[in-house]
């Protein structure tokens, strides 16, 4: 049994295309605004696609706004799990305690399972995984969460996934060493360097013909 067919993804605003399904991108930066801007461009679903987003530091309303700023109408094609604010209808669920990875994992699995009832290609993202790392006592639980929930769901759904890490955050361990480890579990890496107000350069690797540097503004 396969839960999804072969598919590829494009990100028009970043001039990226032919990204195959089951691609996992580790997105890193020490500039939170730049991280958010690029994250939503990668994860926002164009027409005929859908998204699942775990937002650790934004409520449902602002997450929807960021999605539709990236791709018009993407908010209506996205299921959101947020750690801020109340539930808002069927497409925004919230969790009270970010360190409760048992509940967070089940909720996230549930959103993926519901999305898989629809054959539309799926994008998924976590913004910010570094916040979860900072909240949880034992990093092994975060790795289990990534393995069990995020990376497994990408594999089964042949989805495009983005896991964002704020490298300026306190994650309770050496951030360079942790990212070097994380990088080996993801198929691609995009590191964002801020170059000015609402401007940045992306260093892209692991995305074949999209590799190299890309200048973006927002």
């Amino acid at each position: 049994m396969s839960l999804a067919g072969s598919q590829s993804f494009s990100v028009d605003s970043l001039a990226m295309n032919d990204i195959p399904g089951n691609t996992s991108i580790l997105l890193t930066s020490d500039d939170t605004a730049a991280l958010e801007a690029v994250f939503y461009r990668l994860v926002a679903a164009p027409d005929d696609e859908q998204s699942v987003v775990l937002a650790t530091e934004a409520d449902g309303r602002s997450t929807k706004r960021s999605l539709t700023e990236a791709v018009r109408g993407a908010d209506g094609r996205t299921s959101i799990l947020t750690c801020e604010g109340p539930d808002r209808g069927d497409d925004v669920q919230s969790v009270d305690d970010l360190s409760d990875l048992t509940r967070l994992g089940m909720d996230f699995s549930g959103l993926f399972a519901e999305a898989q009832q629809d054959p539309a290609p799926l994008r998924a993202g976590i913004l910010l995984c570094s916040t979860i790392m900072g909240e949880v006592d034992d990093t092994r639980s975060v790795y289990r969460f990534l393995n069990s929930n995020f990376l497994s769901q990408l594999r089964r759904s042949k989805a495009l996934g983005v896991c964002a890490i704020d490298t300026s955050a306190d994650i309770g361990s050496n951030v360079d060493s942790t990212i070097a480890g994380l990088e080996t579990s993801f198929s691609a890496r995009i590191d964002i360097e801020s170059t000015g107000r609402n401007q940045a350069t992306l260093d892209v690797s692991g995305l074949s013909n999209n590799d190299g540097t890309i200048d973006v503004s927002w």
């Binding site: 049994m1 006592d137 092994r140 929930n149 309770g172 942790t178």
Partner: protein, 301 residues
């Protein structure tokens, strides 16, 4: 695919539910269900046999499915669990189980029973609930490791002499050479202690092997990857430095490491030395294996 044998799946539910659950598992090639209808029965099964995965209902007569997960995690933290239930996550009491990751599958979804076998096969095949990062090249890395007949090679004395030298060079409590298998790290030589093997997610080496350079942890109590790791604490480990054993195809198969019971740092020269020791260990292993291969070829001829 590396995992070719039949995989045993413990199915836990009450009444007719366990039969339907076991039926869905049976329908997937390579999966063999065993059943239990309570937490007590499930605990007996887990204590008496090795299982590759557990599928459990949440509501059980003598507790919840998360009690089974707790029982399992204490002895076998890497065995995956699928919570297969129509109880929604919001109704599940996670207060006592905040960092216990399970796969959640809503039994009420239209294709839930069709999906169950596929998911169980997937979580076993991909070791999907391990508490460590699995490198993208794990398959080829394990294939590379399989090329060494470690149990048949006369390497113990050579490696023991080498770890003696390493411990002396760095003036540390423990020096060891370990190979990192799929689920465990096996220690081939260990000066200063008698470690045999450790579950992989409990080791620092499973992190160190992902770094290009020598990895140093000056004090594990200051690093959330290790500070709450009871195994490391019970072994008295405070500081760590590890260097990769990398074969000619660039696959990391093991580590050469030094451990101390107190905080310490390592200079650039010391890191370089440790990497040289790791390269020497790799050369010894390669040479011994080459000799064995040559002898086997002669015998066959």
């Amino acid at each position: 695919m590396r995992y070719m044998g039949t995989r045993t799946v413990l199915c836990v539910d009450t009444g007719k539910g366990v039969e339907e659950m076991a039926g869905a598992i049976q329908d997937e090639d390579g999966l063999e269900p065993v059943t239990a209808t309570s937490i007590a029965e499930a605990a007996e099964q887990l204590d008496s046999q090795s299982v590759d995965c557990v599928v459990t209902e949440y509501d059980l007569a003598d507790g919840t499915g998360l009690d089974i997960v707790e029982h399992l995690r204490s002895d076998d933290p890497q065995t995956p669990v699928v919570l297969f239930t129509d109880v929604s996550p919001a109704e599940i009491d996670t207060a006592s189980f905040e960092e216990m990751i399970v796969e959640y599958l809503n039994k009420g979804l239209p294709d839930a029973y069709d999906r169950l076998g596929f998911i169980v096969d997937d979580v076993i095949t991909h070791s999907a609930q391990v508490g460590f990062l699995v490198p993208d090249n794990e398959g080829s890395r394990l294939d590379a490791l399989e090329q060494y007949d470690v149990d048949e090679l006369p390497i113990e004395e050579s490696f023991s002499r080498l770890t003696d030298l390493i411990a002396d060079r760095f003036d540390v409590a423990v020096a060891f050479i370990g190979l990192i298998e799929k689920d465990v790290e096996n220690f081939l030589a260990c000066t200063g202690s008698d470690w045999d093997s450790l579950t992989r997610e409990d080791t620092i080496c499973t992190h160190s092997m992902l770094q290009e350079d020598v990895m140093v942890v000056e004090d594990i109590n200051e690093d959330s990857r290790f500070a709450n790791n009871d195994t490391l604490q019970n072994l008295g480990i405070v500081s760590y430095a590890g260097a990769n054993m990398t074969n000619k195809d660039d696959e990391v198969i093991g580590q050469v490491c030094v451990i101390d019971h107190e905080r310490r740092s390592y200079s650039a020269d010391e890191r370089h030395s440790l990497q040289q020791f790791a390269s020497t260990a790799m050369e010894i292993l390669e040479l011994r294996q080459s000799l064995r291969n040559a002898r086997n070829t002669e015998v066959e001829a």
